[in-house]
Amino acid sequence: MPTKEQSLSLYRTMQVIRQTEEALARSHQAGLIHGACHTYVGEEAIASGVCAHLTHQDAVFSTHRGHGHALAKGVPPRELIAELFGRATGCSRGRGGSMHLFSPEVGMMGTSGIVGPCILQAAGAGFTFKLLNQPHVGVAFFGDGASNNGAFHEGLNLAAIYQLPAIFVCENNQFATEIAITYSTRNPDVWTKAASFGMPGVCVDGNDAGAVWRAAGEAVERARAGGGPTLIECKTYRTRAHAEGMRDGGYRSMEEVEKWKARDPIKLYAAQLTSQGQAASGELDAIAAEVKALVDEAVEFAKASPYPDGATATEHIYA
């Protein structure tokens, strides 16, 4: 069980992600975001619950839907927003945008516009940590769609046979863009596939921040202790369109979307905390308000930031 402090921090992280994503969605409509924008709304409990156990030395590798992972790992909202605005102050200095978020300083080793590689790279971070006897872990966040990719098979197998300190977090939000997981595999229980690699696989309610926190805690502890990798499947749902500006009809029913909105991970966790008497609703409101100020300031910061100088476009290709 998380301490009160841990619980509030977990709640705050979810608030930071949610409010930043909503600011990004508004900014996208306002034309401030030049490229794609895949929000994490509805899935906040996962990044928050997992990253709560990580230090800046632990290495996170993520995918196209990576805003939440970057924020939970410690990238300030201003650097994320500035990045999507294409500014020199962004976490990737304007080179990456939504799908290429780099902040090695805090162990955010990158998001990828290509689905799959993060799984392999997290195993690779685990390899370094084992090779150099460091107590850190590599963590990959990826979607249900990635679980059908060869990188899943090869990456989990390699992590298992070398018993690497790595955590594989599958965010099963039921769809890959508009393709249902029930179409793309006859076995939609991703966690069961860990058996193919002789690796522990667990399944949690991805909208229950506490449940994610506990499952991730066990996996991270085992990994740090030399017990090898874990696959964690988090059943969840994205409540916005695949990407901002895209349609959200046709492939899923609005009833389904509403059903999941009713299971909003932030509302759920707030209810838990208050009912368990871990926090008064006033405390939670205060956190939300503090975060709002932070995000508002971040948007202003990003708007005011300069674009990178075109003359620098070919720097840093080689060391």
């Binding site: 304007g94 945008g97 516009g113 799959g116 990719n149 890959a176 508009e178 393709i179 070919t314 290709i317």
Partner: protein
Amino acid sequence: MRDITFTAATREALAERMAVDPSIFVVGEGIGPRGGNFGTTLGLYEKYGALRLCDTPIAERGFVGLCCGAAMTGSRPIVDFMFFDFILDAMGELFNQIAKMQYMSSGRLTMPILLRGCIGIGSSAATHHSGSYYPIFAHIPGFRVVVPSNPYDAKGLFRTALRSDDPVLFLEHKNILHLKGPVPDEDDDYAIPFGLANVAREGRDITVVSLGLMLRKTLEVAEKLAAEGISVEVIDPRTIAPLDMDTILASLKKTGRILVVDETFAPCGIGAEIIAQVNERGFDDLDAPPARLHGAHTPTPYSPTLEAAVVPTPQSITQAIRDVLAE
């Protein structure tokens, strides 16, 4: 003649052919009910169903390899990559299997597989959604590589691709997919053969060779320079494998000067290849060194200010033309 978009033009060619050839099927992510991320298959699922408009998991290597086996056994697969960048996970299937099957079977197998995808730099798509890679496929034996610049060519070349028994890469620049252009009525069954360049604009002073989006930029520049009395001949090879050097060399014979403008990387690129062949077959026609203008040799950045700095622009194309003329 009607004005339709590049994508609509290829969609017409596809629909027309699927109606008569039951061995054609399309695989890709979202090419079923959704009709394709770029609308490449819009409306076809309703007509031909889930097997012929076959949505896939995110398994590029897997479905490319599957299509290899399908093509070997009598069907005609079309792989719709959405973004062409995603082809990289399937390189092993392409270079070692698809490109080699006809040869290794000494002609007893054919490989009628069409691979299409959106290429090119633009719209802050960033480095995982901006790749083109066609020089690589021209380097490797066994492929036909098509890079159309307008709806008319797109439909005519797509028709040829749908009848080809060789693996065809059909590459569609993201910034021209939605542009409209004149295309003959549907009952006109024109087709454009591979390996036939188009003289997109006639001129006397210099030959400029370019493809896809760059061809369009080059035509703009040529138009402007005409006002100055500089007469630019613009050649669109349309396919880079096979590459119609005869048309390029005939133009050089006339102009004596040649520039290749291409968005992809310079080293071991299409500019180098054309220059090498010019040296081999047209050296004595050269009044100035043949030149090339390429995109910067760098991953593609996201921010508009950076992105604009890594592709040839009307300004840099104009300058490159002036430089060759000044030699």
